[in-house]
């Protein structure tokens, strides 16, 4: 049976045709707020229940609870504040209770009922969410550049962003029905922002061995320099799935959501999101959502102990490597051989090889996947 939505109800904040017509007919009179693509992605995710139980951007009470307790004010686990930042002049003359039209790329996307305007302490935010104030952390530097006020309130979506990956976009209401139609009861979610190497394939297949289905759900959206581009990740997965996965056991769909690199807190966030898609289990990687050396390799595993009420089971699968004597991918628990037999897969080394136009060894990456990546002139975010 698919997971219950987080907080008990799958949220839908999508305008009916009648509501949309009303909003658009009044649009000229409604104050407008221009928002970034990342915020627009959050907006869509709220509206489609990806962030259930949120119905809008956080009001202050929830914001502070999330920051300090990693829970909403009703005690439901929530670790990453979903906030909308504005400059004072953007909302001058507005008061609580007013409606705002949220626009991205000249397109009216949603209406927001302004419930609260409040200030925030960005230094405190980054320390709580990222556990550091170091500007070399991509999440910290991004947060400190954000605007000085936050506005909270419920939203109603009237339109969507242009989507280059429409054929790979599924919302929770669709995946939940899809999993049911396929008869899946145990569904494992896999979060990624990378092209797949043999280590990823190993953990996915290890999990799939005892589950009914695997939901591979890469993030598309803002990533840091040097990460793989969205289209490269998709092409690489297409190649892997075509050649090495049984079609009936896997669902591959993308999610427009920015990477925050918040390590342990983001691991919980990723699990909650996949719970809303219907997953019952979630693979938590080593240094999940980490960056550089800001988090310990297993901190993202430890944090799950604080959430007995999360409602999705984390799967902590050990780091894998290729063992020449075993003749395949294994982990330290099942391989008796020494370090000299082991070939460890390093993301940095793989990137270096690909950057030089070289194909990674077959012990690290499937040749079809490597070819798909190398078919791009520059596969990296610049």
């Amino acid at each position: 049976m698919v997971s219950k939505p987080h907080g008990g109800e799958l949220i839908s904040r999508i305008a009916s045709d009648k509501e949309k017509a009303r909003i658009l007919s009044e649009a000229r009179e409604i104050p407008k707020l221009f928002i970034s693509r990342d915020l627009a992605s959050d907006l869509q995710n709220i509206a489609h229940g990806v962030y259930s139980p949120l119905k809008g951007f956080l009001i202050q009470e929830d914001f502070l609870h999330v920051l300090h307790e990693m829970r909403l004010s009703n005690d439901v686990p929530w670790t990453i504040p979903i906030i909308l930042d504005v400059d004072p002049e953007e909302i001058s003359g507005l008061k609580e209770g007013d409606e705002l039209l949220l626009i991205c790329y000249e397109k009216p996307l949603a209406i927001m009922r302004l419930e609260e305007i409040y200030g925030w302490n960005k230094e405190e935010y980054v320390q709580s969410v990222y556990k550091t104030r170091d500007l070399s952390h991509p999440g910290v530097s991004k947060t400190l550049k954000r605007k000085d006020l936050l506005i909270g309130g419920e939203i109603t979506l009237i339109d969507h962003l242009p989507n280059s990956f429409e054929n790979y976009t599924l919302w929770p209401i669709e995946t939940r029905l899809l999993f049911k139609e396929r008869g899946w009861r145990r569904i494992v979610g896999f979060q990624t922002r990378n092209v797949p190497h043999l280590g990823h394939e190993y953990v996915q297949k290890a999990a799939l061995t005892f589950a009914d289905g695997l939901f591979i759900n890469p993030l598309v959206g803002w990533k840091k320099l040097g990460d793989f581009k969205d289209e490269v990740i998709i092409k690489a997965y297409e190649a892997l799935l075509r050649h090495y996965y049984p079609k009936d056991s896997v669902v591959f769909a993308v999610l427009q959501m920015e990477m925050r690199y918040a390590g342990p807190r983001e691991a919980i966030h990723h699990a909650i999101v996949r719970k809303n898609f219907g997953c019952t289990h979630f693979i938590v990687g080593r240094d999940h959502a980490g960056v550089g050396n800001f988090y310990g390799p297993y901190e993202a595993w430890e944090i799950f102990k604080e959430f007995p009420d999360l409602g999705i089971t984390p799967l902590f699968i050990r780091e894998s490597f290729y063992c020449k004597k075993c003749g395949g991918m294994v982990n330290a628990k099942i391989c008796p051989h020494g370090e000299d037999s082991r070939i460890r897969i390093s993301g940095t080394k793989l990137r270096k090889l690909i950057r030089g136009g070289e194909k990674p060894p077959k012990e690290a990456m499937r040749p079809e996947v490597a070819e798909a990546i190398l078919s791009f002139e520059n596969p990296f975010v610049e």
Binding site: G8, G97, E115, L170, I173, L178, R182, P308, D309
Partner: protein, 85 residues
């Protein structure tokens, strides 16, 4: 603007935390039980257990998602068109 629910006397007094009473004998049993387990206090243990129990009780009360036949038909049509079904 946000309307706060009326809070009881205890909540007003203690801010984010409030006090509940358990028998001293139970307190002592828990204190003994949690030695070397990673729980640093009886309160921490009790919060953990209560959250686990409360969420599982809440889950049992939840009903299945309601989709109209028309909504279901439209979703299935799209899933088929995209090759998922």
């Amino acid at each position: 603007m946000k309307v706060r629910e009326e809070q009881d006397e205890e909540e007003r007094t203690h801010g984010r935390y409030t006090t509940v009473s358990i028998p001293i004998t139970l307190y002592r049993r828990i204190k003994e039980l949690i030695k070397d387990t990673g729980f640093t206090s009886v309160s921490q243990f009790v919060i953990y257990i209560l959250r686990e129990v409360v969420s599982s009780m809440e889950e049992e009360r939840l009903k299945g998602e309601k989709l109209s036949e028309e909504e279901k038909r439209q979703i299935i049509e799209r899933l088929k068109r995209l090759g998922y079904l």
